[in-house]
């Protein structure tokens, strides 16, 4: 990346932020426009495409039969994977998942898991032996910043759109029936990400803001306004006061988005 241009841009972005402004005329705590479209991949059990400004993420869910983990024999299994698809950015390269895509998938996973968004006990068919496994595959299609929030929103939207096959047990064998019921969802975590630029926090950083940020802070907020997951990123630091301020703003932003999406 051309670091000279980035540095010129950094000065401009920092000066704007000091005045409470941003490159695209948002306030420091504004999100870009959010658009969600559900059920666009017919072959997937659930799907959603989200546009967060120009950032575009598609999530498809698949449900398969599998075995529960030995330490949670009564619970279904959730698996989140993220692909930074090469067509989404000139900086994404084909190949096995790198640390960025692994971090992205684990942060999305943590929000869903820790908020207990899926009623995993209802996925279990035969304790210790058979269960439904929910695969959540995050597909980043266009990178214009804040992949974490976009992916978390898309994943949750796809889960809300996911159908679980009905089944019956015949002579000890699981038989999948042609009908479906909705996946049991009981919480709706919303992840709010901040970029720290020149000592100030901004919500929902765009790509250029991400290129010059010192630190990144993401917080997942559940239906009750409690915090269920946090991830700090980048090689910079934040102060304890900034962390507490971020937690408060994240709570408000999550409420706003929840209202908008009617979750």
């Amino acid at each position: 990346m051309s670091s000279l241009i980035t540095r010129v841009r950094q000065k401009q972005i920092a000066q704007l932020i000091a005045k409470g402004k941003r490159l695209d005329d948002r306030s420091l705590t504004d999100y870009r426009e959010i658009n969600v479209e559900q059920g666009i991949i017919e072959k997937a059990e659930g799907s959603a495409r989200i546009l967060l400004g120009k950032t575009e993420v598609l999530v498809g869910t698949k449900i398969e039969l599998g075995e529960p983990f030995s330490d949670t024999p009564n619970e279904g299994v959730l698996t989140v994977n993220a692909e930074l698809v090469p067509l989404a950015s000139s900086t994404f390269e084909p190949g096995p998942p790198d640390e960025n895509s692994i971090e992205l998938s684990r942060v999305v996973d943590r929000g869903i898991r820790e908020s207990k968004a899926i009623d995993v006990e209802k996925l279990c068919i035969e304790p210790g032996k058979k269960t439904f496994v929910v695969f959540v595959d995050v597909y980043v299609l266009n990178h214009d910043g804040n992949l974490i929030d976009a992916s978390a929103l898309a994943a949750m939207s796809a889960l809300l759109n996911t159908k679980m096959p009905n089944y019956e047990i015949e002579n000890g064998e699981v038989k999948i029936k042609p009908e479906y019921t909705p996946l049991p969802i009981r919480n709706h975590p919303i992840t709010v990400t901040f970029a720290k630029i020149n000592g100030n926090l901004v919500v929902d950083p765009g790509l250029e803001e991400e290129q010059v940020m010192d630190a990144r802070l993401s917080m997942a907020i559940d239906d009750d306004g409690n915090i269920c997951a946090i991830q700090k990123g980048c090689s910079g630091s934040v102060t304890a006061n900034q962390i507490l301020e971020a937690a408060k703003i994240a709570g408000e932003k999550a409420k706003e988005i929840r209202k908008k999406l009617k979750w």
């Binding site: 971090e103 946090i230 991830q231």
Partner: protein
């Protein structure tokens, strides 16, 4: 898998291993334990046993990974197959890849990276035995190893976890408390700058509980900071005495 104990903390506020809610486990830090590394440290925190080694500053290989304006830091957090109850495959897991990244990002702010353009350092962390909050103990040890390697640093990085068990906010979670508890919040701090360089959380905390957990973890980091300095002094005072 062990069954969940009835209570993780009793009415008097005593935890399974006899600690009070705001009490650290016993910590032992040794400096310069590996002769081939440029800097190294060993930490025991409760039953955690972790080695950290630093190689460099040295020429970056492969060369295209060198950065024109600053030192490139590579970090590998790895758990030994025998470090946990059920054997862990030695191949790096997704968890280890993520932890390697966040540990690197927790240590980088403490290093004067701009002093060494095009140069690299490697930080290798091996968890020999794991018993909860290993990422924190790893950061604590790795920061001491960086100092032992003579890398120019703004401050040491001290790390400690806080969390919630049975509704009580506690310091320095051990494995059972992490797995059975309601929240885990690892935090790393450069104490002289009050700068938080690592923050993660999973579980469920209200805003008030979160505030309390952050301040408890911060206090824990400051106690660990004193131990890190002591460990460094212990080695270098001995070296000086041997010289005289």
């Amino acid at each position: 898998m062990s069954q969940k104990p009835e209570k993780l903390i009793d009415k008097k506020g005593t935890r399974l291993d006899g600690r009070k809610p705001d009490e650290l486990r016993s910590i032992k830090i040794e400096v310069g334990v590996l002769s081939n590394a440029d800097g190294s440290a060993y930490i025991e925190q409760g039953r955690n046993k972790i080695l950290a080694a630093v190689f460099g500053p040295r020429e970056m290989h492969p060369k295209h990974l060198a950065l024109p304006e600053r030192m490139a830091v590579r970090c590998r957090y790895h758990m030994a197959p025998f470090s946990v109850q059920e054997r862990k495959s030695p191949a790096p897991s997704r968890r280890e890849v993520e932890l390697s990244k966040v540990i690197r990002e927790a240590l980088e702010p403490s290093i004067f990276l701009e002093y060494y353009p095009r140069i690299g350092i490697d930080i290798f962390i091996e968890v020999l035995q794991a018993d909860g909050s290993t990422r924190c103990a790893s950061i604590t040890a790795a920061s001491v190893a960086l100092a032992d390697a003579g890398i120019p640093m703004r401050d040491l990085v001290s790390a400690c976890s806080a969390g919630k068990i049975d509704g009580t906010i506690i310091l320095d979670l051990m494995d059972t408390e992490d797995k059975m508890g309601e929240a885990d919040l690892p935090l790393a701090l450069m104490p002289n700058f009050n700068a938080v360089t690592l923050l993660q959380m999973d579980g469920n905390l209200t805003q008030e509980e979160f505030e309390k957990a952050v301040s408890l973890a911060t206090e824990g980091c400051k106690k660990i900071y004193a131990l890190q300095k002591e460990a460094l002094k212990a080695k270098y005072v001995n070296v000086k005495e041997a010289d005289e």
